[in-house]
């Protein structure tokens, strides 16, 4: 067996690839993140807002982009493609080709002058061709890496960029290079491509200017997009008044060989309709044409309801057959059938909700990696191994395995990271280099000696702001003992020079006046630290992004502003104090609450990573909900997998299983928890570094439709048991969907019941084809590849009948004979059936124990009673409280494969903590002056992280900051009536000095 290698290659730098890379890198593995395009970010970077919270997509993604770009354990390989793969799990040889950028990445600092001066225009593909860019460009302003690239197709070779580039980064003779790397495992996250709407020629895309795709519409809605965030008609730039969204374009369409559902389009369609209404100044009518609204995710139905009730969006259940254009007005006529009546309706603009298709390179990837694709060319995975490809050591996440939304992609990405690291767990930490720093100099007794470094940024700053004047000004400010100008302060050689100047002039504070701290502060802090100063003795003045670039035509005023900004920052710097990053020890052990498929999987993953685990299950058996699942829609044998999982858990020496037990108490914080486990044999105290909540959920016990009062009325779970035992016989069956879900009390969808109903209906048809099966539904939510089983059921004669809340089915029992009365919308008649069995698709209820667990762990629940994660989009398995994670049905209803993904994800997230001996926390945290504290508790209640506890010392109660929990927002300090709390690096004194100095000239001391 070849030696294992502690590094991983991640293919694809969208949100899934980024998440997988960060988890791996934070757990001690070297990551090579390869992307075919010139920057990472993928489709999420193009989006305006995200459902169901309407968060700004770039706001939440950008910090992850920056973290990935500057992570010491992640190497970005952009503009590259895979060529060859050799070897086996644990030791692969990957060969890739990096295409020439014609720009030296080491030298380019992203100033963008080249792009401004380039004489050639090309269509901006990031803006979906709705605007132009130069032949030398970055994909988007926040691109990581911020390195320009020449579009060789468009470039005419005039040489202008080379002439204007002060960093000498242009490299016209740069060649493609081929490189081979050794890695232990591989994660594929190449994402998806939007369906090409031209294929559906009847919808007029490409012919009629006012028919746009949903991805184009995202750019249109984006404040940084072509239209500045205003919805406009491409034909004439007018604000539309009547907008139509057409769902399922390129999805659920067997005619064009796309028989799957793209799973995310209903939600993004609704989102785009809501945002469009918010983004136009006039009343905008939005109509969404759909087949079924598939709002099957967490809290999605609540969003759908708001779209109808609050925003007045009209939903029409119909497939639009054809679109024509009025050539005079460029308005569009939509032909569709509503309630069996052919209808034509005119709209100003139409958005096609295009589906997801596998990336163009899917077949090539499959060949290189030797992995199996499914019939639709997505990567083949299995119900019980949802992140594994058919080749050991090669894992998959994101939309490449099946169409999915962002949180599912993120969870699957973390899950794939867990699997990728477990096969090389023994090599953790071996491919990464720990950095050594010189000891920190004690500056507490020194007077401030400030050095100011002012950046020309090529001519980005100096073209507007008079840099020599600014340097001269800065050097004359009190406490400033050194000042100089640099062509690029961020360049490698300048870093060395700054260190020299710190020594030479015995500087104890450093200021860089250049671009934005958001991208460059970390770099300069590092430099300062390398020279033996505390990294917090550094400040930046933003004289480019917030000065020279925005006052291009006012050089005099811009220069004055730059001076004010520097004077303000100097005033702050004088007061800066070194900050300590608190270091806490980590107990490398996990506690998993719940022994179902999620809990067992999470425990096993942690154990495979080399960590001890306490697995606590309330009942006498491991297996949870999975014990009741007899077969799956996809045809796998759940019992076989369950038995194997239980055996693996029980036989694993690192997993301590507590059956018939309960976690009674959890104390402490990330890295250092102490908990009590109660069981019949008594109470046991365990120490652990993380907690994973996998407490699952329960089938709702219906009170509707005579359940419990008539013997023929059963739930899907009960039906499944009967079918499995061969005890089921019926001539006629009626299934009723959404029992206890999507109601006023429980507005959200239970996600799994449509799949369950289809599964059981098919099973009935298999054993007894003559049995009539009716499914009464609100929307059939067979998302993703489950769609094909819906088709199969329909083709086997299962009859699906739509109902809505105004006309719910009625079930009665007449002398033991069941009767179901319902409205048939196609023939427009009431129908009464007399089935032998009525099957209720009962919702999923949260575990009744959830409330207790949430209070014990101080983590929140949703209104529905499921656990609420840290962020619905990007942190699906984290809690806001560090060190506490969740997975499976405790989070929300989900299928087995989804629970397994989340369980692996929770393990990966946990291992970013457990893999470290100590955790270094952020230095910018709150600090309480106990002498001033009056113990009023205002801060305790305000803190969103519960990072403040009240301590009783002798006679006085005072607030105390739990360093491990504080995130440094400073809200507590602002509210403190006695000014006892201050936030490091943003102290009240520092900010007041900054305010004053920004406004008033100082007198030199």
């Amino acid at each position: 067996m070849a030696e294992k290698i502690g590094s991983v290659m991640v293919v694809g730098g969208g949100v899934a690839g980024i998440q997988a890379s960060l988890d791996l890198a934070d757990s001690g593995f070297k990551v090579y993140l390869l992307d075919k395009s010139s920057s990472i970010g993928g489709v999420m970077a193009e989006l305006d807002k995200t459902f169901p919270t309407n968060d700004c997509s770039m706001c939440i993604l950008a910090p992850k982009l920056v973290a990935t770009g500057r992570h010491p354990n992640i190497s970005l390989i952009t503009n590259a493609e895979l060529v060859d793969l050799k070897g086996q799990a644990g030791n692969f040889l990957v060969k890739f080709r990096k295409r020439s950028r014609y720009v030296d990445e080491e030298r380019c600092n992203g100033c963008g002058l080249c792009s401004q001066k380039c004489p050639v225009e090309a269509l901006d593909t990031f803006n979906e061709g709705l605007s132009n860019r130069s032949a030398i460009y970055v994909e988007y302003p926040q691109a990581v890496p911020l390195k320009y690239i020449i579009d060789r197709e468009k470039c005419i070779g005039c040489g202008t960029c080379e002439e204007v580039c002060k960093a000498k980064a242009i490299a016209y003779d740069q060649q493609d290079t081929e490189t081979t790397l050794s890695v232990g495992s591989i994660i594929l996250a190449p994402g998806f491509e939007p369906f090409d709407a031209r294929v559906k020629s009847e919808l007029g895309y490409g012919k009629f200017p006012n028919v746009v795709t949903s991805i184009e519409f995202e750019r249109i809605l984006s404040a940084s997009g072509p239209y500045g965030g205003l919805a406009l008609r491409p034909s004439d730039g007018e604000v539309p008044r009547k907008l139509a969204f057409i769902q399922c374009v390129g999805s659920r369409d067997a005619q064009i060989n796309r028989d799957y559902c793209s799973a995310a389009c209903c939600m993004y369609g609704i989102k785009e309709a809501i945002i469009a209404k918010e983004h136009v100044p006039v009343a905008l009518d939005c109509t969404l044409f759909y087949m079924d609204i598939r709002a099957h995710g967490k809290e999605f139905d609540a969003y759908y309801n708001r779209a109808q009730d609050e925003f007045g969006i009209r939903f029409v259940r119909s497939r639009v057959a054809n679109i024509t254009e009025d050539p005079k007005t460029n308005n569009l006529h939509l032909y569709y059938v509503e309630e069996e009546e052919p209808t034509t309706e005119e709209f100003d603009m139409v958005v096609l909700s295009v589906g997801m298709q596998p990336p163009a390179e899917a077949s090539k990837l499959a060949n290189i990696f030797g992995i199996e694709l499914n019939g639709q060319k997505f990567c083949q995975t299995r119900m019980f191994s949802p992140v594994e490809t058919s080749r050991p050591g090669v894992f998959v996440c994101g939309a490449f395995s099946s169409p999915k939304d962002i949180p599912e992609s993120v969870a699957q990405a973390s899950g794939a990271a867990a699997k990728a690291m477990s096969i090389i767990a023994s090599e953790r930490g071996k491919e990464i280099v720990a950095k050594e720093y010189p000891p920190e100099r004690d500056v507490s007794q020194e007077e401030p000696r400030i050095g100011v470094f002012v950046c020309h940024c090529g001519i980005n700053i100096s073209g507007t702001v008079s840099v020599p004047e600014v340097v001269d000004f800065a050097t004359k400010l009190p406490s400033v003992v050194y000042g100089e100008a640099n062509l690029y302060t961020c360049s490698q050689d300048t870093q060395g020079m700054i260190k020299e100047k710190i020594q030479e002039h015995n500087l104890n504070r450093v200021i860089v006046a250049s671009c934005t701290p958001r991208t460059h502060e970390a770099l300069f802090r590092e430099t300062v630290r390398e020279s033996g100063l505390n990294p917090y003795l550094f400040e930046m003045a933003n004289i480019r992004d917030q000065c020279s670039w925005v006052h291009v035509h006012q050089p005099k005023e811009a220069t004055e502003k730059a001076k004010d900004l520097i004077r303000s920052v100097v005033a702050k710097a004088r007061l800066l104090k070194p900050l300590r990053r608190p270091v806490i020890n980590v107990t490398p052990t996990g506690l998993v609450i719940g022994g179902g498929v999620s809990g067992m999987t999470a425990a096993l993953e942690l154990a495979n990573q080399g960590f001890d685990v306490h697995l606590v299950e309330r009942t006498k058996n491991l297996g949870g909900h999975l014990r009741e699942i007899r077969y799956t829609l996809e045809g796998e044998n759940p019992r076989e997998h369950l038995d194997s999982l239980v055996t693996q858990v029980l036989e694993n020496g690192r997993i301590h299983v507590y059956l018939d037990s309960e976690v009674a108490e959890v104390n402490g914080f990330v890295g250092n928890f102490k908990s009590k486990i109660n069981s019949e044999s008594g109470e046991k105290e365990v120490e652990h570094g993380v907690v994973i909540v996998a407490t699952g959920a329960k089938e709702y016990v219906p009170t509707e439709y005579l359940y419990g009062n008539a013997p023929g009325v059963v739930t899907q779970r009960e039906l499944e048991e009967m079918l499995f035992n061969g005890a089921f016989k019926a001539e006629s069956v009626v299934m009723i969907q959404c029992v206890g879900a999507r109601t006023r009390e429980r507005p959200n969808c239970a996600r799994i019941c449509c799949g369950q109903a289809i599964k059981n209906a098919l099973r009935i048809k298999e054993t007894s084809p003559e049995t009539d099966v009716y499914v009464l539904y609100k929307d059939v939510r067979s998302y993703g590849f489950k769609e094909k089983y819906y088709r199969k059921a329909a083709s086997k004669g299962v009859i699906f009948v739509n109902y809505n809340d105004d006309r719910k089915p009625e079930v009665s029992s007449d002398g033991g004979k069941l009767k179901v009365l319902f409205w048939e919308p196609i023939i427009k008649e009431e129908i009464t059936l007399e089935p032998d069995t009525v099957v209720l698709s009962a919702a999923v209820s949260p575990n009744p124990d959830s409330k207790r667990v949430s209070e014990m762990l101080k983590v929140p629940l949703t209104k529905d009673g499921f656990f609420l994660e840290a962020h619905m989009k990007l942190r699906p398995v984290d809690f806001q409280t560090d060190g506490v994670f969740l997975c499976g049905m405790a989070h929300s209803p989900k299928f087995i494969d989804e629970s397994i993904c989340q369980a692996c994800a929770a393990a990966a997230r946990a291992s970013t903590i457990l893999s470290k001996k100590t955790l270094e926390m952020e230095g910018i945290i709150a600090d309480v002056d106990e002498d001033l504290c009056s113990g009023c508790r205002i801060c305790e209640h305000l803190c969103p992280y519960s990072a403040i506890e009240m301590n009783e010392k002798q006679t006085k109660v005072t607030a105390h900051v739990l360093e491990a929990l504080c995130k440094g927002c400073g809200v507590c300090g602002t509210a403190c009536p006695t000014k006892a709390i201050t936030l490091g690096h943003f102290t009240t004194g520092e900010i007041l000095a900054q305010v004053k100095a920004a406004l008033v000239e100082e007198v030199r001391a």
């Binding site: 770039m58 992004d545 670039w549 925005v550 305000l942 927002c969 943003f986 305010v995």
Partner: protein, 145 residues
């Protein structure tokens, strides 16, 4: 009037690190031009903006103060700091009136990381409005504070 048209108001802007400061950066990256009257001070969260900071600005002659944070309800990096800011600013505006400072001189805005244009527009509007209002009443008469 001629004096007023020459008047260039001084504005202090407190911008939260995660959304609004990023939005102001994006205005720069997109080269959206706005008047050079604002001096930006970065804070981690709009909830960190102490009324004392704002009063200090007015005391030292600022003609306007902008506080900008992440959009309500859920964009705040620190869960709910923006809510706290909104309550605090509303209270402070009342207090300013008592001090003889027009409450319009203090503005609270939500600016996301992709709203460079919005940030520039806000600054433009503020400058225009402050020019109409004239100098900070605390400095108007004596010029001294």
């Amino acid at each position: 009037m001629s004096e007023e048209s020459d008047f260039e108001p001084k504005i202090i802007g407190f911008l939260c690190n995660w959304c609004s400061y990023a939005g102001a950066d994006l205005a720069g990256v997109s080269r959206i031009q706005y008047p050079p009257n604002i001096r930006i001070i970065r804070v981690m969260c709009s909830g960190r903006v102490d009324p004392a900071f704002i009063l200090e600005a007015f005391k030292n002659g600022a003609d306007g103060v902008l506080v900008a944070g992440c959009h309500l309800p859920s964009d705040c990096h620190y869960i709910s700091g923006n809510f706290k800011a909104s309550r605090r600013i509303a209270l402070l505006q009342r207090l300013l009136q008592d001090l003889g400072i027009e409450p319009q001189r203090l503005r609270l805005e939500w600016v996301s990381a992709s709203e460079g244009d919005k940030f520039a527009t806000i600054v433009r509007e503020m400058v225009e409005q402050l020019k109409k209002l004239g100098p900070n009443p605390l400095t108007k008469d004596g010029g001294e504070i």
